[in-house]
Symmetry: C2
Subunit: 230 residues, 2 copies
DNA sequence: ATAAAATTATGTTAAAAAACATACAAATGT
DNA sequence: ACATTTGTATGTTTTTTAACATAATTTTAT
């Protein structure tokens, strides 16, 4: 029995906080733990979900292959959170792929156990309804901003999104995730060249500071302004 | 008691098909019916949801105001379907607005009654989970196609989407919804000028035929090809 | 019935962003 | 230690699409 990922079930912020101790034990008995190295694929577009995947440690990007293989990141997962639950609950194959962007630990909860709990526990169902509804709102927002904002606005929004998702380091400025320029581009719907160029421009405007993959936000208000104006 | 919209609850395709007769009666007693004229606003971005809105008759567009007031249609609703349920279940204010594009009849189910049913009926919860998960998949797909496909690809996809959503007339070709060029543009993330121009191009290529707001699909395979290529 | 407004249509110009090219730096494998 | 690959950086060209302009047609209101 693998305790490495039981924090998923015990965590106060998790949707499983509505479960009682017996239910939590049942979940723990019917879940498995897997380790992934940075750049490992967790699942691919078209695969069939086998259970509910929870991210216990690490960071994961969820992305879709678009026109000409061009990648669009649709979500960034952090602990404690689910991965691939959309496909599972829609009873579809995955419509996106998941890749670890850091060494990660995931916990997979057996489908049957999950469904058993869902059928007896309306609070759990409601937690999942709330999660899906929130993410749908986020997705609709993204659709509009990625299509309507200009490059500077899109990049600024992505940086703010990364800061809100992963937080900042002790210096109260450096975004706590280290993405390649290509990933930043794929998150912001632009080419890698344009991501590099626009990051440089932001740096020359003293809005951010760059040190390799470290991005330090120097002027939060300025970044928010750029994001809002589009 | 308004029977005009009880088809929502009795319809076999509705998520309420999992309810028993008593539960259906409870819903009917706690729901109200409202009539809307074409172009009437049903709710606006920022409003607070008061209950679960179901479209019984008519057609409704769901749209967000983006950069500089530019409108993006995120969903097209048809009977029998829900409107604004995302915000209700996320316990948020509406993030989009709803407007009738035809004379419509809606049925609003009281929030308390709905929640009572949800707490006792896991099948209903599961139906809603499945609906939200499906729509989230659709939304993520849209994000990618609206950002990556070129104008022709986006317009072709929108026409196919409208055909799939509302079906076709008896002539087995005319899309069963009559939108302004502006609405088609707002659905496809382009300016009205470009929607008009590209529709004309499609017509000159004999892929579609135009007659006012009537759009007849002449070459479905061709349209699908344009949509897939982007 | 007629004016006003909204919608459709099409041509022209300007802006945005992709595509392309090249160079350099950093990481990785042998 | 060196070669190879991958990632970063920046300049130039081309494509796409928005913005603008104008006119014809249709719808709506009075």
């Amino acid at each position: 029995m693998n305790v490495e990922c039981h924090n998923i079930i015990d965590n106060q912020m998790s949707v499983f906080s509505v479960l009682n101790q017996d239910e939590k034990e049942l979940l723990k008995r019917n879940s498995t733990c897997t380790y992934y190295k940075k750049n490992d694929i967790i699942y691919k577009e078209g695969d069939k979900p086998s259970g509910l995947i929870c991210l216990s440690k690490g960071k994961v990007k969820i992305f879709k292959e678009g026109v000409g293989g061009r990648e669009q990141i649709v979500r960034m997962a952090k602990p404690v959170g689910f991965i691939g639950y959309r496909a599972l609950f829609a009873e579809q194959n995955y419509l996106a792929s998941a890749e670890a962007i850091e060494d990660s630990v995931i916990c997979t909860i057996e489908k049957e156990t999950l469904y058993k709990l869902l059928s007896t526990n309306s609070d759990l169902s409601f937690s999942i309804i709330r999660s899906l509804a929130s993410e749908l709102g986020f997705s609709n927002n993204r659709t509009v901003t990625l299509t309507q904002k200009h490059i500077r606005g899109r990049l600024a929004e992505s940086l703010l999104f990364l800061k809100d998702t992963y937080g900042i380091e002790e210096d109260i400025a450096t975004i706590k995730v280290y993405l390649s320029r290509e990933d930043i581009a794929n998150l912001s719907n632009m080419t890698t060249s344009n991501a590099i160029r626009t990051l440089s421009t932001f740096a020359s405007e003293k809005i951010i500071a760059l040190d390799g993959r470290k991005i330090k936000i120097l002027d939060l208000k300025g970044l928010e302004r750029i994001s809002e104006l589009g």
